[in-house]
Amino acid sequence: MVSLSPIPSSIFRPSLRAAAGAGLVAVLAALTPAKAGDPTSKTLGFAVTTFNTAMYESRFMDECPQGINATNDEFWWRGLSKEERGRLTNNGDMTQIARQHIANHRGPNGEDICQVPTAVKDPPLYTVRGKLAYGMKLDGTDDGKDTPKSCKHEKFTGVDGTPAIDNQLYRVLGCVYGWRSIGHIETAANGHRQTNGLGMILIEVSGVDDARNDDDVTISFYRSVDTFTFGASASPLPYSTYRIDYDGEKPRYGDSIKGKIVDGVLKTTVPGDVKLPFYANQSFQTMQLMDTQIELKINADGSAADGVIGGYYSTQQLWEYIGEQGWQPTGLYTCPGIYAAIQKLADGHKDPKTGECTSISSAFKIKTVAGFIKHRDGGDKPNKIAQAQ
């Protein structure tokens, strides 16, 4: 049951009240009582409006000195004689998307190389060579050395100067057209999520005594069954109510990690494994993000929070999504090339038997708006606090 009663204003510092002015009213509205046993602690709610693979793109694309990667279609085209090109493309009249279907079946026995990416061997993917990236330090090392849990890899420096950042997903996808800001994959995915309401992530911060500084809060992730309310500029408005998705009496999502708020920035204190709803370009996924960390800067007026969520993403799940996109109009990349790069650059969750890593460090930039998160009447069972192994 959502509770819309106002919180005691004492949890805000006077300086904030003075600074935020009318905006404070909005913050109060987005705070809801949390712990049944602790009537003084409150809850912050946010709905994720955009969820993008965190890409650092320099002005002159210095991070990709080899350029942008070629596509399935181009590799297929390169392998054909002029006569074959004419025969297979209706003398060049075939549409790009229709041709893509044929290009994807360029395995030696007609295999779909996005379903069976090892059927052919494309030239190695052009990966990121730059030094800067968004993300978090996930493996606990300063140099990305080989450990019992992680595989040797090259570290980045954070865009804000933070050392020892792990983001091998960016290294894989940073020079692939579709994932860069000029591409369509992330733009289309965010657009679809906003319009059809699928894969909407809710972030609930509970146990909040002070909305700007609190050393012990719980961060929970849910799926919303309600869509955004849009303003005149077609942007999601803050302070809508979002109902949690339930399967019977249990939330279908709801993993939690521990965190703190420092000067209005929400940070993880104990990373943990969380499941996130994911919908993009006609694909659904229960995204398993392991050793998850989050850093969200909450606006002074509390109406929004933007930042980065990072963790280890299962390579199998990552490939499941990317392989499927090979069919889509957005699938302008080389499936075998990306698949091989993922296997090569995976750096987390080392399989003790094979010595190969089964997950890849990743980071996603998220934007949110504040909202009321509605639990079912009578409440739901407490979620376990996820903790990294």
């Binding site: 279907h101 079946h105 006609q282 659904f284 229960t286 499941e320």
Partner: protein, 400 residues
């Protein structure tokens, strides 16, 4: 939850039997040509040919009285041909096809059969991945405040917004109710019944009478209006006042069904029970809605090979799920003594196995769906698409 749903379904079935009993007449059906049969149910009437095979309309027939289905389309969807001397009657017209012959049309929509309908009454042509074709049917007449909705729980009455309607067993309507003819020249004085209900002030917080505005008159058979104690007017269907329930949060929810209220029991206004499922079928909640699942609650996917014709090889081929496809998808194999149930039939697949099919399309699970409620096998512009409990296409999978 499962217990409640089991109870709900039992209740629904029982109500359906009651509602469809002799006292509750089937909806009136219009006259039809000799080549057509009208199959009436408590919720609607359906057009079939003389053999009982379902007739369909086609969304791409946009010009009234003109068919746009020829050649390959007409082979798959044979037109309902009319004799050369057939004469139009009422809302039935005879259209001249551009290829040859004459075709029956109802309300200007040409009528077709579907070649893959396996038996009389089957409706395999109405499928989620190809929503251009619709069973030629019409729901019973309802007032503007209500409608008939096809849901996972069967055909039910809902309000204008699709919220389920309920009846309370303890409600009674006393006095005479007068139904006004639809062609009444002016609104006549109405002798309305009075509702005797145990649903008082507290009960009405959650159970909202389906109100009829002061100037509304009932023109639909079996529908009337009765007065409550507070002199508001409430819609009554077949002698039972109708309510919506505050616990329903979205259209077609039936959370109120089976609840004990006002010294009686609540029943959803079910007109027609849902089609039968095989007894091994389960359901699973997913990010895309409730899907049909196997006994381990793994999502079932329908495979439509015909949608695959532009994909020459690899993966699933136009012939069926070949070896590459079987790397990912697992046929739902039937037991040796399995028998078809309603829309669920048994086919022999390209590997010679006896496999379950729904509406003629073979069913699979997906190997990478690791747990109940996963739908990662939704692939390739819905060549494989999850079987939804509610029917229709899963939102966001690229179709309707």
């Amino acid at each position: 939850m499962a217990g409640k749903m089991g109870h709900t379904l039992q209740t629904l079935t029982a109500i359906a039997l009651l509602v469809s009993g002799a006292a509750l007449a089937a909806p009136p059906t219009p006259a039809a040509p000799a080549e057509v049969k009208l199959h009436a149910t408590p919720a609607r009437w359906i057009l079939t040919d003389l053999k009982g095979m379902t007739l369909y309309t086609f969304d791409r027939d946009v010009t009234p009285g003109v068919s746009s289905c020829f050649k390959a389309c007409a082979e798959k969807w044979p037109p309902l041909m009319a004799p050369a001397d057939a004469k139009p009657m009422g809302e039935w017209t005879v259209i001249k096809r551009a290829d040859e012959g004459f075709q029956w049309a109802y309300r200007d929509k040409p009528l077709y059969r579907f070649v893959r309908d396996a038996f009389a009454g089957s409706q395999f042509g109405e499928r989620p991945e190809n929503d251009l074709w619709h069973v030629a049917a019409e729901a019973i007449p309802t007032p503007a405040d209500a409608k008939v909705m096809q849901t996972a729980h069967g055909h039910i009455l809902t309000d204008f917004d699709g919220m389920s309607l309920y009846t309370l067993s303890s409600d009674k309507v006393v006095g005479s109710t007068v139904r006004v003819a639809s062609n009444a020249a002016a609104m006549p004085a109405m002798a309305m019944g009075e509702i005797k209900s145990n649903c008082g002030r507290e009960c009405l917080v959650n159970w909202h009478p389906l109100e009829a505005s002061w100037m509304t008159v009932s023109t639909a058979p079996d529908w009337s209006i009765a007065l409550r104690d507070d002199k508001t007017r409430q819609w009554v269907y077949k002698g039972k006042p109708l309510y919506t329930y505050s616990g329903d949060s979205k259209p077609a929810d039936v959370e109120g069904d089976g609840l004990a209220v006002a010294r009686g029991e609540v029943s959803v206004a079910l007109l027609e029970a849902p089609p039968a499922w095989p007894n091994w079928v389960t359901f699973a909640s997913t990010d895309g809605g409730e899907v049909v699942a196997d006994p381990e609650r793994r999502t079932l996917y329908q495979f439509d090979a015909e949608q695959n014709v532009n994909r020459p090889s690899g993966g699933a081929s136009e012939r069926g799920c070949n070896q590459y496809c079987l790397d990912f998808y697992v046929p739902v194999i039937a037991k040796a003594d399995a028998k078809p149930v309603g829309d669920w039939t048994l086919i022999t697949n390209i590997h010679g196995q006896k496999q379950w099919a729904y509406k003629g399309l073979p069913l699979f699970t997906y190997k990478k769906d690791a747990r109940a409620g996963e739908i990662t096998g939704t692939k390739n512009y819905r060549v494989f698409f999850p079987l939804m409990r509610m029917g229709g296409a899963m939102q966001g999978t690229g179709g309707s």
